[in-house]
Amino acid sequence: MVHVDSKNALPKLKISGLGKRYGEVVALEPTELTVNAGEFVTLLGPSGSGKTTLLQMISGLTEPTTGTLHVDGRDETATPVHRRDMGLVFQHYALFPHMTVGENIAFPLKMRGAPTNEVRERVRETLAKVQLEQYGDRFPRELSGGQQQRVALARCFVYRPQIVLMDEPLGALDKNLREHMQFEIKRLHREFGTTVIYVTHDQEEALVLSDRICLMNHARVEQIGTPREIYSRPKSIFSARFIGLSNLFIGKVSDAGDGRIVVANSNGSFEARQENCGPLVNGKAGLVLRPEQLRPGPAGAGENDITGTVTEIIYVGSDTRLVLTLQDGETVSVRHDPATTLPALGDSLTYHWPIDVAVVVS
């Protein structure tokens, strides 16, 4: 995360109450979001959660129904799209098929009335940055998907917009190329010091790239925070489920005094710290545990445990995961400790965890 002197620096981008409806359909509930200069923020969420809508309103391609947008403290809500100092990278690149790679990259410079010499120089320089020096005279359709994506990035970064918006720019690429391009995007972000708002529905990508993640669901923001914050302190069941693998015990909550609470269901009752508990609705809640937080063996002081039979053993490369089925049929994923011998299917195992690590969400 880039740290800004928050006392005198205005946020780069400030969104207040920005919302969009299409007739009856709410594409985005009024939303608040503040992005600092140089920050890389990812909008993450399932399909239809309003990510594209939010991004397009920031870019000016879609008019908001409510709310305002401030860039560097200036109100830009009504600025037409071509006057905003922003760059947008589309999912399917949107390269101009009738222009060569060089002409595509020169386009934004020409629109800004840059002199011919400077245009030529900047295009050459930017092509070199994305390792496409040889390709300036080719047409987009003569390039591979990854190369086209690099051209799209070059076309966007060439005019040094202060804010770059990307809508699932890697959606059409295969896994290897995606990872390579993620690296490339990260590098461009660092080199130009640009503020980036990035849309994806791939949680891994969001974790790799972002300074902060803005988790979206059902046309609103679920949670905003650093990847670590969201992983270790999910604010809702949705957040817990969407990022990383999680085990969830849903049950009734009661106060056990002494800063502790108890979540009880048919598998037993589990303690957690009051301070790790978000706001609750009508006494029901879920206790979130990450697989790596559970350790083999029975509970000691200040710990909880569960016992179940091994019903699946999943090999995932770096790790082996065990699935335990508890008495009432619920399942729990745990990480197998590579130092111990692998259990067999049907073995009964007990795992424990310190009560400090569990998070309780509604």
């Binding site: 101009f96 009738h98 005019y159």
Partner: protein, 579 residues
């Protein structure tokens, strides 16, 4: 079922390899009734009296100034028609392409109805509008704007107005699909990169729409080259076009050899236009998006083109910057309304005239009566012509749909490298000017005794309709997912059941529109009918043509209304059934 599954792969393979045979009826039909007659006609032009080869007929062409003049006039009128059709039609096509799909299909009727409206009815309407005693001159005189009638007709102005009115729907219908296929995200992308409206249009949208313009220009140019209805009625002696000359050579002078010469000129011009379209059209390479084709010259044209477009963009933004935001938004809809009025109003004006009580073609009519309709309905000549047109159109629609549909199926299912050749051959009757096909068939039918027979008409109309049915059915087959057939087969459906329960229901819409388009093509057809039908065996358009040449009368207005109603009804039915 497992046995069927196992045997399926070799059988589908054989079916694929052999699918091109489904095009055999179409190929045979077009060879006999299109390729041979046209070839024969061209050959006549180099045949002397004794059957030996000779260049004497071309000699005559070269040494007669009047023919040169007609050739030049033909090119000039066709060129101007194509130019104005594109220029005036482009904003309409653009407007249509920007609409949401459902609304676009509704609004498209505003172009489709004029497109399918009989050329004769349109020419008739313009005669009523533009004549010395016509509607426009009376309005102008009545308002005291002019003292004496303006010469609006029997000159180039009249011909161009009539031709543009006749051809613009074709131009719009050719451009529109290309325009609506332009990815809207490209314009958006240009916007985010800093391009204002004018730059987005000139530098991104316009170059991408050029293939549509080129195709629209080509089709209107070629169709205009062989056109005779509008110049015959709205032009003077100075506007005689090549096709009219061919008709005179065949019908009055019976000079086949010279008709062959003129037909060759027409055909060669059309082919040159196609060739230019394909190879030399420098602007088309703007959007071709390939750097492999001859690099230096096309790169130079491209650069020049882009520089020009950029200038246009700066000029446009400077000019439109003077208008208010709201004022700018009204220009296009206003223009579209005006053009649609131009396309639709003249033919609509025929309707009140058909109900006139007067013996003359006055507008507005002095009183109301249905006497001209009863005259039509009680006239054995008109009724028999109408009935004949219906019968011929029905037979044509069945034949053309079957033959063209099988050929489309062949193309869709075959991977043969001859597919492209067959495809081009199926479309050839659209490229070769109708008058050439008509005269060629007339010569053939004269030898076969098919002149003045319904069979001859059906054959001729089927030749003209096959490109339409082929394209309509090929279009639905292209979007057809053949895996559905395989899925149905794997679920236990036999081959016939697959056809009946899956294929036919899914392509029904395309087949029905193919049928109706063939029907309307035949119902409206005049060129072949002029030669092949006649006397007591006239079709409705032929009867109208004869009457219009003799004298304009209110019965013609009544007949026009009947034709208008029938064609519009068919179009509406086609539109409904396609959904």
């Amino acid at each position: 079922m497992t046995a069927a599954g196992l045997s399926a792969s070799p059988r589908t393979f054989r079916l694929r390899a052999n699918a091109l045979w489904l095009a055999a009826p179409a190929i045979a039909f077009l060879v006999v009734f299109f390729l041979i007659p046209v070839g024969r006609l061209l050959f006549l032009s180099i045949q002397g009296d004794t059957g030996s080869l000779t260049a004497e007929h071309y000699d005559r062409l070269l040494h007669t100034e009047v023919y040169w003049r007609i050739l030049i006039i033909t090119f000039r009128i066709a060129g101007l028609t194509a130019f104005f059709s594109l220029l005036l039609g482009y904003p309409l096509a653009y407007w249509l392409s920007q609409l949401k799909e459902q609304r676009r299909n509704q609004m498209l009727l505003l172009v489709l109805v004029p497109f399918w409206t009989s050329y004769l009815v349109k020419a008739f309407a313009w005669m009523l509008l533009l004549g010395n005693q016509g509607v426009l001159n009376r309005l102008l005189g009545g308002a005291g704007i002019t003292d004496s009638p303006l010469p609006l007709m029997y000159n180039e102005f009249g011909v161009i107005v009539g031709m543009v009115h006749a051809m613009m729907p074709l131009a719009v219908l050719t451009m529109m699909p290309v325009m609506s296929g332009i990815d809207t995200r490209l314009s958006q992308a240009a916007g985010t990169l800093g391009a204002n409206g004018a730059h987005r249009f000139w530098m991104v949208y316009f170059p991408l729409s050029i293939p549509g313009m080129a195709a629209g220009g080509l089709l209107t140019f070629i169709t205009s080259l062989g056109f005779f209805i509008v110049p015959a009625f709205l032009g003077g002696r100075q506007q005689t076009m090549l096709a009219q000359l061919i008709i005179i050579q065949v019908q009055e002078l019976v000079n086949w050899a010279f008709a062959g010469v003129l037909a060759t000129m027409l055909l060669v011009s059309a082919l040159i236009a196609c060739w230019i379209y394909n190879h030399l059209f420098g602007l088309a390479s703007l959007s071709a998006g390939s750097s492999t084709a001859d690099k230096t010259s096309s790169a130079w044209t491209r650069r020049f083109g882009f520089a020009l477009l950029e200038k246009l963009a700066w000029i446009t933004s400077a000019v439109t910057g003077r208008f208010s935001q709201g004022g700018r938004g009204k220009i296009l809809p206003g223009y579209v309304a005006l053009i649609v009025f131009f396309l639709v109003a003249p033919t609509l004006m025929v309707i009140p005239i058909a109900f006139t009580s007067s013996d003359f073609l006055e507008f507005p009519p002095p009183g109301y009566s249905t006497r001209w309709f009863s005259l039509y309905f009680n006239s054995p000549i008109w009724i028999s012509a109408t009935v004949r047109s219906f019968g011929v159109a029905f037979a044509t629609a069945i034949a053309a749909t079957a033959i063209g549909g099988l050929a489309a199926l062949a193309i869709a299912r075959s991977r043969s490298r001859f597919g492209g050749v067959v495809f081009a051959f199926m479309l050839a009757p659209m490229i070769v000017p109708r008058i050439v096909i008509a005269v060629g068939l007339f010569y053939l039918f004269a030898q076969m005794g098919l002149v003045a027979t319904n069979l001859g008409l059906v054959i001729g109309h089927t030749v003209l309709s096959i490109p339409f049915t082929f394209v309509a059915i090929a279009a639905v087959l292209k979007g057809y997912d053949w895996r559905l057939d395989q899925a149905a087969a794997s679920l236990g459906a036999g081959r016939f059941q697959v056809l009946r329960l899956i294929t036919v229901p899914l392509i029904r819409g395309g087949v029905i529109s193919a049928f109706l388009f063939a029907f309307v093509t035949s119902f409206d057809e005049l060129t072949i009918a002029i030669f092949v039908s006649g006397g007591l065996k006239s079709t409705l358009p032929k009867q109208m043509w004869d009457d219009m040449i003799l004298q304009l009368n209110p019965t013609l207005a009544a007949v026009s209304v009947v034709v208008l109603v029938i064609v519009t009804a068919i179009l509406l039915v086609a539109d409904r059934l396609r959904r």
